[in-house]
Symmetry: C2
Amino acid sequence: MARTRDQAPSARATVKQTAARADYEAETVYAIIDQALVGTVSIAMDGQPFALPMMVARIDDQIYLHGSRTSRIIKHLTAGNEVCVAFTIIDGIVVARSGMNCSANYRSVVVHGKGTAVEGAEKAELLHQITYTIIPGSKGDYREHLPEELKATSLIRIPLNEAASKVRVGGPKDDKDDVALPHWAGVIPLTHVYGEPLPAADLPAGIETPEYALKFPLKN
Amino acid sequence: MARTRDQAPSARATVKQTAARADYEAETVYAIIDQALVGTVSIAMDGQPFALPMMVARIDDQIYLHGSRTSRIIKHLTAGNEVCVAFTIIDGIVVARSGMNCSANYRSVVVHGKGTAVEGAEKAELLHQITYTIIPGSKGDYREHLPEELKATSLIRIPLNEAASKVRVGGPKDDKDDVALPHWAGVIPLTHVYGEPLPAADLPAGIETPEYALKFPLKN
């Protein structure tokens, strides 16, 4: 993916509403997906929409999701059907002088594409990489996958060549005539804060909390 | 909506994967939607899934979303087609002794249903109510809607009679044999914190920051 900010990759990936907020550059798309960690995975089945939040990891210009081989969505994606994955981070509530101009500051990405099931040694290796991507710096702090785990789990790869981000920042955009009204206007910022790690109740004595947990998320 | 925790409202609303985490009670569903503020709205159009994050307000046993009358999703919902709306709040990263048992603590709701376009005086009144719902305690701090705003904006109502929540809490659930391994395990909690309100750059002098912004979100 190497496009300019305004260069949409396809018709369906083009942001239509408030198009000035659209951004198709990889750097923006990657940063939002990487922070979001969870995406809403949507499919169309028998003409009906189904959506489910799932953990999603980005590696290079692909995203990966995994789940039980028996899951409805995973089976649908393994069969090569279309998928849409949406990521959203809310950064604040925008209060305007009119209800219609109230809004939210947010960063979102919508990905359109088809999934591919990854199998064999590549799957086992990528399932580790996904964990290190979601929990940066934790490499090596896990046991090896078991054959029955690999058998029960499907890994789906979706390319990011049809991804678009949309970002709203800043204060309210009120109608010119409204600015003098005696109503408060501004932004209530929302931040997402990782706190002090809580060791598992059954953690054996002597295992210290690692840096990757204390300073989550470490830069990869 | 008045069901017990285990009573799914329909086949498609029944949680299939890790069904023990499912909860169909209104109180749980309402609390998650009310905190999330933004839902991912998914539709199936010509066999393809389309998803978009939108601000969603819950009033009683319905959710409401609004948008430009010309928007693709709004037009699709106004025509009475199926919709799926997903809400997700992530509460932490769960680190296990194996990559496969790593997880996230989360609260999610998935709503299936059909939208109805609300029109006329009810629409104007509900559009105000939606603002007071998203920004509790702000009633009266806005100018009246303009006729051209009401004309350009569609309001869609979706009932919550087919809603299911799914909640994961607590520490890692490792395989029994893994507990003694020399790997750290636990939860890295994630909290969502509203900060000090930032007044708009063009706010006239003398307008104080209201309590609804200082203590966001006030209880309604």
